[in-house]
Amino acid sequence: MNVPENLKYTEEHEWIKVDQNIATVGVTDYAQGELGDVVFVEMPTLGKSFKKGDVVASIEAVKTVAEVYLPVSGKVVELNDALNDAPESINEDAFGNGWMFKIEMSDPSELDSLMTAERYKDLIE
């Protein structure tokens, strides 16, 4: 199972990549495998602020739908618009082209509560 070392993870199978105070968020390779073919991604509202744990997006597969919880509080500053036309990127490249949105973090200390790659591997194995 592909679980990159340089990312942080949540129990709800989101990954988060931190660059200064900007966090990029997506769902893990394990999550996309469980969902099956993704057909639609509902994105958060650009420019809106949310709290850690808020449901901000959803991923629709053929027979199910998964909510995406925000791993850290902050403001949505960028959306991966390419997912509108190619939601399958989440299946094909969950940690790359399948990224969903970027958050300007309001409380970076929240990162400490997230899982390391090692702990996440334990969770899914």
Partner: protein, 447 residues
Amino acid sequence: MHQYIPNTVDDQRKMLAELGLGTFEELLTLIPDGIRFKGDLPLAAGVSELEHKSTVSELSRSGVSTSSHVSFLGAGSYDHYIPQIVDFLTARSEFYTAYTPYQAEVSQGTLQAMFEYQSMICELTGMDISNASLYDGASALAEACLLAVRHTQRHRILIAETVNPVYREVAETYGQALDVKYETLSNGNRQINLAELSAMDLSDVAAVVVQTPNFFGTLEDVSAIKKAMGESGTLLITINNPISLALLKSPAELGADISVGEGQTLGAHQSFGGPYLGFMAVKIAFARKIPGRIIGETVDNQGRRAFVMVLRTREQDIRRERASSNICSNQGLLALTACIYMAALGKRGLREVAELSTQKAHYLADEIGQIPGFGVKGNSLFFNEFVVTCPIPAKTLIERAGAVGFLAGVAVEDFFPGSPNELLVAVTEKRTRSELDRFINFLKTIS
């Protein structure tokens, strides 16, 4: 064995024994004494089928219906002609006894009928997607308002005063627990006050709701309303009479985002106000937010045309509390009725129904306008319904008309207190010239 309860005295004894009880009465002891009925129901002794039938027929003869009287009733329910084929086909037991198909894909025939229904609703409204129906026009409006709230994340809805007040009541009931605020858009001369709308700040308004033709029968200027709404991001919901759409520009063309309405006019009997049919059609942008079932066309594993339920992830059984609606069902039999009605009439037939209704309504309005003491209110932009100002209270007129074979119309007073002399009159293609002239002659005797 009881006539309506399919178990024998022996069955009952066994069930009671299982519960450790001796008699049926013991089973009821949990119901508080004060509210429990004891003894025998005060019902008359049984009568023979023959006696029963003649009693009921006698009762039924004393009633009034659209077959015994010439009807000008409207206000949301209309006396259009229903071709024989509609009742004949819908009464087939395959259709009549079926509820929503739980193994939906097995029921290809039902799914195809719903697909055809949706396609025809889309043609009439000009919209991209129609659902497989809702309960009635009022609940369809309520669902449309909730869609707008979900989409815009705003909680104010501006609803025109010219919208059927009953629809508004239902929408408000639906919106209560969701903190939706309904505010009134006032009317001037039976139409939305455009100046008032243009001056409003809509930045926190989820939707503007307009009915056209409205409750008073008058057509609203939908494209002007759309223009007045500017770039507010507010959705425009129109309530439409589907028959009128055979003649008028489609709501999509005029700028509406959501079109809903009452489908009773499409082949369903007026009955006593139901069961009716709510339709809802939206632009593609709301595909994932529309409530209710949607049937789509696909191909099976051998490449043959087939029908399936689509966009299922909006629905309650998958999405749970975040579903687009609590309604996972539809008004299947009535949607089928509408489908058969529209197919039987075809594009030309539907247009003819609309044209005849309009022409006859306008003839009647013109003639009534010339009777001393009577007036036809508002402007001349109406479809098949208009308000008549009478020289006497509308309710008195309705009573007198009833005695001579007319259901004269609906008293506006019942919906808008303060207008006792106003009568809402609807005309369908069923009304003959001689019926209209007889009604005109009757009105001439009123003063």
